[in-house]
């Protein structure tokens, strides 16, 4: 399994001349691995199922169970799926480079969000769907 650090390096040095569909598929796959890391860190086994045709969305749903603040990356996952669909449906579109660039930035955001949450997990949640520390400690 690729480490989060290796994924960061890959995202920061993502080839600009990659074929559109290959590139966006790799971004989707890397993002699935990012979510797998989150699920493993929480003691779970990443699902192989799909949701709305995408494993990424199933993994996000699994990762958010019991961790409502993880929903802060729900739309990020959905945007990546949307951009994947845009590229897949029309890889020769005149705007393809911008679409790929956006997909890369979305994937980067997901990576940053998840690694940030993993680093600070012991501090409790302070964001949109936060749960009180009391609830976590019983």
């Amino acid at each position: 399994m690729t480490t989060l650090a290796d994924i960061e390096v890959r995202l920061n040095n993502f080839p600009k001349d990659a074929l559109a569909l290959e590139a966006v598929t790799e971004l989707l796959t890397m993002s699935e691995v990012v979510l797998e890391h989150w699920i493993f860190a929480k003691g779970g086994t990443p699902t192989e199922k799909q949701r709305e045709g995408f494993r990424l969305l199933a993994l996000h749903r699994q990762g958010a169970k019991g961790e409502p603040s993880f929903n802060a990356c729900r739309e990020t996952c959905r945007e990546l799926v949307y951009h994947y669909n845009l590229v897949k449906l029309d890889p020769d579109h005149v705007d393809i480079q911008r679409r790929l660039k956006m997909a890369l930035m979305i994937a980067k955001h997901l990576h940053l969000f998840v690694t940030g949450k993993m680093a600070d997990a012991g501090l409790g949640d302070f964001c949109c769907s936060s749960r009180p520390l009391h609830a976590q400690t019983g």
Binding site: P68, N71, A72, C73, R74, E75, T76, R78, E79, Y82, H83, R98, K101, M102, M105, I106, K108, H109, L112, F113, T115, G116, A119, D120, L123, G124, D125, F126, C127, C128, S129, S130, P132, L133, H134
Partner: protein, 308 residues
């Protein structure tokens, strides 16, 4: 004008008295320009923010309920408007808890009695955001009629942050069809600024995390998250990121500077409150909407675009 929300209780919250003062100034200025009356909640208190909520969520529910109680029971208002996403979120959460959780009701009743004010009961007042206020009270057509200084040619990335739409269950009025706000792809700010003449860009990170929660514990993570938001806006061709939350706004401004000083990465996009942009479109001077109070200096860009 629809007549709805013509006069509402105004709950600025702590940030709008400090780091978000330009938002307070521009919200009031826009209200005045549009003929909408704001009655500031008397003796308002902190909504409980993130800190109280994290330690004792019932206390946060009480603190938010007190604001709603004063607005409803002492001021006789049926609507309270909170421009800050954190305040808006917490008042909505308190409303939800008081409707659905008996323990919350009991705690709020007990503390309210001790504090000597009427206990707030779910349904007494409607909590809205500044976006709901303008969109519902004036509407896009009404705004178009009032625009004196179109934002035409200004490319805007609308950034809503995380608390305006999450968690979905505390916003039952959203996702109710095309005229209502969407929790997955919010559009009220886009609609308002488009009516003011702006050219909205398709910004895929409009509800993505800005790392606000990491600001003190792990500043580098916050800076990297914000930098990605800024670079994405630049890549979309945006001249400006429009904000509707003082915490997001401060985070974007401060980490834009930090990204340059710590990581050597400069981004060009400017950061302005949507009320500042709307105010200038309505013919108000930049100073009147507090552009000079922003950390992000946008005057040169605004002059170049013919807006200031």
């Amino acid at each position: 004008m629809t007549g709805k929300y013509k006069e509402v209780a105004y709950y600025p919250g702590c940030a709008l008295e400090g780091s978000g003062h330009a938002y307070d100034r521009s919200t009031k200025a826009v209200g005045k320009a549009l003929g909408l009356k704001l009655k500031e909640v008397e003796d308002w208190n902190c909504c409980g923010a993130m800190e109280v909520k994290n330690v004792d969520p019932k206390l946060q529910t009480y603190l938010s309920s007190r604001v709603m109680s004063i607005a409803a029971n002492e001021m006789g208002c049926d609507t309270v408007m909170a421009p800050c996403n954190g305040c808006y979120h917490n008042l909505k959460k308190a409303e939800f808890d008081l409707k659905n959780d008996d323990e919350s009701k009991e705690v709020v009743s007990r503390i309210s009695e001790k504090a000597g004010h009427e206990t707030y009961e779910a349904g007494q007042i409607e909590t809205i955001h500044a976006l709901d206020w303008i969109k519902e009270a004036i509407g896009e057509e009404g705004l178009r009629e009032r625009v004196k200084n179109s934002l035409d040619g200004l490319k805007v990335a609308n950034y809503y942050g995380c608390m305006y739409t999450r968690p979905r269950h505390i916003f039952p009025e959203k996702d109710q069809g095309p005229d209502s706000e969407s929790t997955s792809k919010p559009h009220f700010m886009d609609d308002i600024l488009e009516a003011a003449g702006a050219d909205n860009v398709d910004y895929p990170l409009k509800t993505a995390c800005c790392g606000g929660a990491h600001t003190l514990s792990d500043s580098d993570t916050s800076t990297k998250l914000v930098l990605n938001l800024l670079q994405a806006a630049d890549a979309c061709g945006a001249d400006v990121i429009a904000t509707e939350c003082p915490t997001c706004h401060s985070g974007l401004e401060m980490h834009q500077i930090r990204a340059e000083t710590e990581f050597g990465v400069k981004t060009d996009v400017k950061i302005l409150y949507f009320t500042q942009l709307l105010g200038m479109a309505l013919g108000l001077k930049p100073r009147k909407v507090g552009v000079h109070e922003n950390v992000s200096d946008s005057m040169e860009m605004l002059k170049k675009k013919g807006i200031a």
